[in-house]
């Protein structure tokens, strides 16, 4: 009880002293990083869970490129199940002269079977859940779509050959993540209107689905019953399958974010250990005094533990507030990427972060504080009497246990934990050695500089170990920031430069055979080159060398997917200029023999196909067999229409065919596209530029969010610097006073201290630039298959940022020593 009173009484006062603030900041940072990421992953997790339940808008979803036969819904009804049907396809929607590409979703009564559709009664108005579907003659359109075409509720939209009235703003539909929706805004229309719209032609890119829902047992029975009778073209998606995929993706994202948070945590741990040592050292005199006045070891320990707990609680409080704020910012940045209305985060992240903070304190601060108990009371008479150093085993054991405990939550697998800890140890040791090397070089360079610099550089090498730790801590934070800013821009720029200036930026799809000639003329009339039209036939591979594609073994999963999915086939007499023949021979221009096929290189490898293999396709009720005659490499970046599988002319004759084309359309020519789509409503125009823009936007936002998480890393680096400076502040004060007593001007002392920080900053900057360059090269070559170009600016910015950040932080950390008047310092007794 006495210990509690004493601990409380002294704590407030201690708080105001710098070293406790650094300790507190380190704990708060760790908690802040963990809660922010915790909140975020919690939200992502909840959003994913909800999405997984609703993503099908049903319990089972039978998807097909052809209309689902009526017998399927009758069969489902026989099992007592509810059904609904949907069709979706991209199409251009008009309002007056304005047009935009939309994802048209045609729905029947009963939709959705699971989840709710939400609409608003005005643009950006409050949303509400609705029962039922739009009435015939009406549509519910996404706000983005309405904004793009400048329409509002009550206005008419032209879709195909009919006009439909907007009766509500669509804000949410459960299956919006399926299909084309992620790239084009949605529009819901009643199935009763589809036949007169003229949108559905033979070979149109329509995705049909039969939704089934009901009692779980009945759904399972139905699912089993249809398995054997399912035509090749129908794919069944069940809840489990879709949720598993969603969870996997979310899980990976969460682990990545958790690991970034752990990085801040580890740096915070370094700061905690440093400032705890300093804290303990500063309290040694007080403890010796208390012991001389009769305090027991138990009392000393109790006071230390209580104060540690108080510190932890305060750290958790401050950190949670920081975390809340950061999460608020992060989820605002990410709002478009995750979902418009994320569920509120639970308090779980705060609890977990609090636990982690306590583990951090116990692992990294406790050893130093426990050691206080052994302070000899003799210290009141002889200042050099020190407690014995804490046992290395205790210190390293506790900190290792703490790190393991903290990491385990993010990793969740003992084997991975061992690998990760070994990896971290090796990397930390390597970085530390590099840091020591840089510090050594700094020490060597001091003979050729002036007095202030010499004093500063001498300090760097005198405190070699602490200097190296600071260089590494700061360097790590900087590395990541450089990666996410400069390197990311470099990579995006590099990729953009590999694209041909004249590369097509628009795709036309769904061109009917009878429209090809007219569309060509249309462009000619508008003063443009007539583009080439590439035929497209939808088919399904059924067998390879007589073996069913379902039973066959594939080198990898991509191969299985390729062989089993709905395939787009094409045929041509001449190989496209964007292809390169790798193996076999291309068929002669006037070839009219048995069907031959050419396969794209990567697909051939994945599916284990070689020249001479025989592929059988099922196309609109007929079978076509072709022999592989060649293997090609495709330059996808050319943005020309390209296909994994291309057949010889004549092989697909008389099959339902649509044509696709690509072309470069300048901004001032875009108006003409409106006329084109008006005249040929089934043709869809895809603006690649807009899509690339969108992709870039997503990358920017995602990296901005990750950057925000890494700001914690940099802040933790600053905390390490503060802790390191704090631990030498008495020494610094004394030295400043001595130097000034010896006749140094304040300016000289200031320059000396700044020289020290500048040197540390240069070293951290070099480390960060090197790290970012290596990582960038790996990412460029391995991930993006781009040649990595050395960017000297990276080094300039890295070193400049290092010097700037370390000098600013160092100045604030050490200003007490710089500004202390010699007289104050020499009046030392308390």
């Amino acid at each position: 009880m006495r210990a509690v009173v004493f601990a409380l009484r002294t704590f407030g006062r201690e708080l105001r002293s710098g070293e406790v603030l650094v300790l507190l900041a380190a704990v708060s940072l760790a908690v802040g990083a963990l809660t922010a990421v915790g909140f975020l992953t919690d939200r992502i997790g909840k959003a994913v869970a909800r999405q997984a339940n609703e993503v099908l808008a049903a319990d089972l979803r039978l998807r097909s490129q052809e209309p689902v036969p009526a017998e399927w819904s009758e069969l489902a009804a026989g099992y007592g199940l509810d059904t609904a049907e949907t069709m979706s396809f991209p199409s251009v929607v008009f309002a007056g002269d304005n047009s935009a590409l939309a994802s048209i979703n045609v729905i029947s009564d009963g939709y959705p079977l699971r989840g709710e559709v939400r609409v608003a009664d005005q643009l950006f108005g409050e949303q509400r859940e609705v029962d039922g579907i739009p009435a015939a003659g009406e549509v519910w359109a996404d706000g983005t779509l309405l904004a793009r075409v400048g329409a509002d509720i009550g206005d008419l939209l032209s879709i195909g050959e009919i006009e439909l009235r907007v009766s509500a703003v669509l804000t949410y539909r459960p299956d919006q993540s399926i299909g084309f929706a992620s790239l084009a805004p949605s529009l819901l229309m009643n199935a009763a209107d589809i036949s007169r719209s003229g949108l559905i032609g033979e070979g149109s890119r329509v995705s049909y689905a039969l939704l089934v829902a009901g009692d779980e047992a009945a759904v399972n029975e139905f699912n089993e019953a249809i398995q054997d009778r399912l035509p090749e073209s129908v794919r069944v998606r069940s809840q489990e399958e879709s949720s598993e995929r969603a969870y996997n993706a979310a899980d990976r994202a969460q682990r990545f974010l958790s690991l970034t948070a752990v990085m801040s945590l580890l740096l915070s741990a370094v700061a905690v250990a440093m400032s705890a040592r300093r804290f303990a050292h500063r309290r040694m005199d007080a403890v010796a005094l208390m012991k001389s006045l009769g305090a027991t070891q138990g009392f000393v320990i109790a006071v230390a533990l209580i104060q540690l707990t108080l510190l932890g609680v305060l750290g958790v409080l401050v950190g949670s507030i920081v975390g809340f704020a950061a999460e608020e910012v992060l989820s605002r940045i990410l709002v478009d990427l995750i979902a418009s209305d994320l569920p509120n985060p639970g308090l779980r992240p705060v609890v977990l972060a609090s636990g982690s903070a306590m583990v951090l304190l116990v692992g990294f601060a406790l050893p130093a504080l426990i050691q206080l108990r052994n302070t000899p009371p003799l210290r009141v008479l002889r200042h050099d009497a020190m407690p014995p150093a804490p046992s290395r085993l205790l210190v390293s054991g506790l900190s290792l246990a703490a790190v393991a405990a903290l990491l385990y939550r993010s990793v969740g697998d003992p084997r991975m934990l061992v690998i990760l800890i070994s990896g971290i140890t090796v990397i930390a040791a390597a970085l530390y050695l590099v840091g020591r090397g840089l510090v050594f070089l700094i020490g060597r360079s001091r003979s050729g500089v002036g007095v202030a610099w010499r004093y500063g550089l001498a300090n760097v090498s005198r405190r070699g170990r602490a200097s190296a730790v600071q260089v590494v801590a700061f360097g790590l934070g900087l590395t990541v920031l450089l990666l996410l800013t400069l390197v990311r821009t470099d990579l995006l720029e590099g990729w953009r430069q590999t694209l041909d200036e004249d590369a097509p930026n628009h795709f036309l799809i769904n061109i009917q055979p009878n429209e090809v000639e007219a569309v060509g003329e249309f462009f000619e009339k508008n003063g443009m080159r007539v583009p080439s039209f590439t035929p497209l036939v939808r088919a399904r591979m059924t067998s390879i060398n007589g073996e069913s594609v379902k039973d066959r073994k594939y080198p990898n999963e991509d191969g299985r997917w390729l062989a089993n999915r709905e395939a787009n086939l094409s045929w041509t007499a001449e190989m496209s200029a964007s292809n390169e023949l790798l193996e076999g021979e291309w068929w002669p221009r006037d070839y009219d023999g048995p069907p031959l096929v050419s396969i794209e290189e990567e697909s051939a490898v994945n599916a284990g196909l070689t020249i001479g293999d025989r592929l059988k396709f099922f196309v609109a009720g007929q079978e076509v067999e072709a022999e592989i005659a060649s293997i090609r490499k495709v330059n996808w970046d050319s943005f020309q229409p390209n296909f994994f599988i291309v057949l010889s002319p004549g092989a697909l004759e008389d099959m339902p065919t649509t044509y696709i084309s690509s072309m470069k359309i300048e901004d001032d020519q875009k108006a003409m596209l409106v006329d084109l789509v008006r005249s040929y409503p089934s043709i869809s125009v895809i603006d690649l530029g807009a899509i690339l823009q969108q992709v870039r936007g997503i990358i920017e936002k995602a990296s901005l969010a990750v950057q925000a998480v890494f700001v914690f890393t940099l802040a933790a680096g600053i905390a390490v610097l503060f802790a390191a400076v704090q631990s030498t502040i008495d020494e610094r004060r004394f030295e400043s006073a001595m130097l000034r007593a010896l006749g140094a001007r304040r300016r000289t002392v200031f320059l000396g201290v700044m020289a020290e920080f500048a040197a540390l900053g240069i070293a951290a900057g070099i480390l960060a630039s090197a790290g970012a360059s290596v990582l960038a090269a790996v990412v460029a070559v391995q991930l993006f298959q781009l040649p990595y170009e050395f960017n000297p600016l990276l080094w300039v910015v890295g070193v400049a940022a290092g010097v700037f950040l370390v000098c600013i932080s160092g100045f604030f950390a050490a200003r007490g020593a710089i500004n202390a008047a010699p007289a104050d310092v020499l009046r030392w007794a308390t």
Binding site: V5, T10, S292, L293, G294, P377, V380, A829
Partner: protein
């Protein structure tokens, strides 16, 4: 413990106390077989040149450190038989300190510094007792000040108040005026002797200052770790 040596009047006794420390040059003897008895209420000055072993003797007498051989019996307790917490208990009950460099806890204000030993000894009403003694040392208006806001003399007054707060059997003072100017020092000593008389505390004063030593009842002179004289001071 040799019972016949303990008499009611003896509050502190050193029996053949020696202290050796190991140094790079081998074992170094700081104190060599020092023996004496001090009766309750006596004031004793420990004098001698620098390095004579005065501070070491003080540390051993107060149980801050243990002798290499010999015993110290403080208020009836053989300190060598106690562990660190046991010695802390003896100090809490019967010892007060005044140091050359004050040793106030910087994070506590004057009153709280004085309350500290009272609370450690488990005394009730520590605050009221501390207030009384703070008034006695003339710091009635400064009780809420922190050490950094007090002058050297004021700090030492707080330290003296803290030392007398528990009404200790023995008060150890280690060069209490060493960090003060002569006038302030004289005032402080006046205060200390006055409190010593009024509370009948035994005072052990380590000092260089011959005039200060002459004000005590008795003087122990150390040189080279040996007790070279033990004499009454003629008043």
């Amino acid at each position: 413990m040799e019972n016949e040596l303990v008499s009611k009047d003896v509050v502190l006794e050193a029996i053949e106390v020696s202290k050796q420390v190991s140094s790079p040059e081998g074992s170094l003897t700081i104190l060599s077989e020092v023996s004496f008895r001090i009766a309750a209420g006596e004031s004793v000055a420990v004098v001698g040149p620098s390095g004579a072993g005065k501070s070491t003797l003080l540390a051993l007498l107060a149980g801050l450190d243990l002798p290499s051989s010999g015993y110290v019996v403080l208020n009836g307790a053989n300190l060598s038989e106690l562990d660190e917490d046991g010695r802390a208990g003896v100090r809490a009950d019967s010892v007060g300190f005044v140091f050359q460099s004050f040793h106030l806890v910087p994070s506590l204000n004057a009153l709280e510094n004085v309350m500290l030993p009272l609370e450690l000894a488990g005394k009730n009403d520590a605050r009221a007792a501390a207030r009384r003694i703070i008034e006695q040392v003339g710091l009635k208006d400064r009780w809420s000040h922190y050490p950094s806001q007090l002058s050297g003399g004021e700090k030492q007054r707080v330290a003296i108040a803290r030392a007398f707060a528990t009404e200790p059997a023995v008060l150890f003072a280690d060069e209490p005026t060493g960090n003060l100017d002569s006038r302030t020092g004289a005032n402080i000593m006046e205060l200390m002797f006055e409190l010593n008389r009024s509370s009948r505390t035994t005072l052990i004063l380590v000092t260089h200052d011959q005039s200060l030593a002459m004000r005590c009842d008795r003087m122990l002179s150390l040189d080279g770790g040996r007790l070279v004289s033990d004499s009454e001071v003629a008043a």
